[in-house]
Symmetry: C2
Amino acid sequence: MANNLKGNAVVGQSGGPTSVINQSLVGVIQEVQKCGHIEELLGSRHGVRGIVDEKFIPLKNLGMDLLERVAQTPAAALGSTRDKPDDKYCDRIFASLRKHNVRYFFYIGGNDSADTARIVQNLAERENYELRVFHIPKTIDNDLRVHDHCPGYGSAARFVAAAVMGDNFDNISLPGVKVDIIMGRNAGFLTAASVLARRNSQDGPHLIYVPEAPLTEDKFLADVDAAYKKYGRCLVCASEGVAGPDGKTWTERLASGLDVDAHKNVQLSGLGALGDAMAELVKKKLGIKRVRADTFGYLQRSFPGFTSSVDAAEARLVGKQAVLFSADDSNRQGSVAMRRVPDSQYKIETFLTPLSSVARETKHMDASFIDGGNNITDAFRSYALPLVGGLPPVGWLDESI
Amino acid sequence: MANNLKGNAVVGQSGGPTSVINQSLVGVIQEVQKCGHIEELLGSRHGVRGIVDEKFIPLKNLGMDLLERVAQTPAAALGSTRDKPDDKYCDRIFASLRKHNVRYFFYIGGNDSADTARIVQNLAERENYELRVFHIPKTIDNDLRVHDHCPGYGSAARFVAAAVMGDNFDNISLPGVKVDIIMGRNAGFLTAASVLARRNSQDGPHLIYVPEAPLTEDKFLADVDAAYKKYGRCLVCASEGVAGPDGKTWTERLASGLDVDAHKNVQLSGLGALGDAMAELVKKKLGIKRVRADTFGYLQRSFPGFTSSVDAAEARLVGKQAVLFSADDSNRQGSVAMRRVPDSQYKIETFLTPLSSVARETKHMDASFIDGGNNITDAFRSYALPLVGGLPPVGWLDESI
């Protein structure tokens, strides 16, 4: 491990925030404070937009007391962005980095951020400007290729599992049909985490719908009807991205005039329409009276004081590792990924994977995780359980009967 | 303190569950295990319905390990009910209590439950049957008369304050208008707790709307417009029961065909229509692009592992106190209330208030808690802060600038 390239570094945060994205930021800062090859560490305000607008905060000299509190705080402390840079935008990013003698660029984000990092790195290479670019993963969707799982997911999964656990008891107390809408446009990992709420065969969620398993109205109604007859109640967890066999999301089918973002995605989060429509359907078609819906919304990514300790530690780790990897001249670029150490209790190791292997396309739930189009398998439970870092202890009087 | 009346006791839970309602149940069980005057303690399944249907669980011999886990678990472990007993129903309750030699009836619930307790107690008196009836308060709405505050409120308030705290950081990260809809049909206490999320004058919530302050569409839009111009973003917290000057709720005005419960209340919870409508209004009338809404829903009352330690202890206490009060022959009936000990740091004492003083009508936010129809005062902050038992530590980079 040798490094002769000295210069400044920029770190930025991008995309939908998570509750541990600042752990990664603090990991970068802490490691830069210790390392020799990075002179100044500039925090870019609102991701790449801050680079273009030259809005930087110097981060190298911040004290540990503040940093530890920032690390525990959800959402992007540097500000985030939804900008999707085109080639021209990337030219401007590169020009600004060059101007500020930036030799290291750390970008915390999802697959779109990895792609931006990749383009900027390519530009620098073409211009013969030595620039090392590292992508630090974050996404509650858990949908990055190559990565075993992504920082941000474990905490969101813990929130979802606990919320559904509580809602299951609520649904036992006052029986009826309850529909919970959970984030996840294309990947069902977060919705699938609701399976962790079950203690026994009577517990909800009784039905779990992910985007990977096409769902017709008829199947949905037949499922709810059967579960309601069996349990005297029914708790449903559905991804916001649940879609029909034609690939159209239920939300698109049910609503028009919805927002479209810079990535041409229809707005699925931040509104309650899907849950309300599913509840209405159950009321009308099955004649069940007590039907309610909740849309968990942004709380899944931004609720403070309830993160997964495992997720928090891993988010810190990948930030630190990015700086450590950057100290080695042979690492020109990459995304800091985690994989499980085989033949061990849950334990991970990090490695660098090329930006192109993570950029753009995303990962879906493996078919082995989905059961019958309305349930989640034990294989998924084994995969996800270590990531949430424990769930609150609960007990119920049925244990005494 | 003397007691010659020996017999069985029934305990039941009623109304919307809270995350500490089982603390009160466990308080009752623990104290009954120690006392001499109660022979068997019967847990009634689903409130008064279990009494009528004679569905009881014997509770006196349950072990502490299970009880402590039940106490930490949200929702009503005995099951709850929305039944609103009429005179005939109350006759049947009384007949069942008499049949099972029940001399003590502990009913955990809100103002409707206090009213049911009152009617049953009156019936017993008329029939010359010695029956002691105690109401144990619970409500996240915090709207019981006489009571300084109600068990269940502190934990729901903690959840709301933390959720809004996180959402404020999310809203800084990705600026826009965000509307959060918080439970509370007639009383704004829970929505007002969102004020605890503010660290400084820039933080959201920038606007807080409670049912007690009539809100017109024009005022709402002018408020959002002004806040958005001032802060470059706007975080709104609104009660689900927010209403116009004519007393009609915004939800009633915006939607038709909504559910009506046994108490003739329109369904406001368990749907996202109000938040969506408010967000739509801002988009259309103010032309702001990034507008989102979340409806916190049942999570406010049922999220596990995030209760207020103060609330949990007080909920346990009022359950225990009900049994202790029942040991005194001079206490025929009453609701176990809390008041603050004057001239002290936050400290409460319990007392018995007649059922009729708590039954039926509810309490509203004092005018001194509301500021300009869109904000909450420091007087409320002082009132509410001790109840949430601390909030998660957070930090932001603006503290370094």
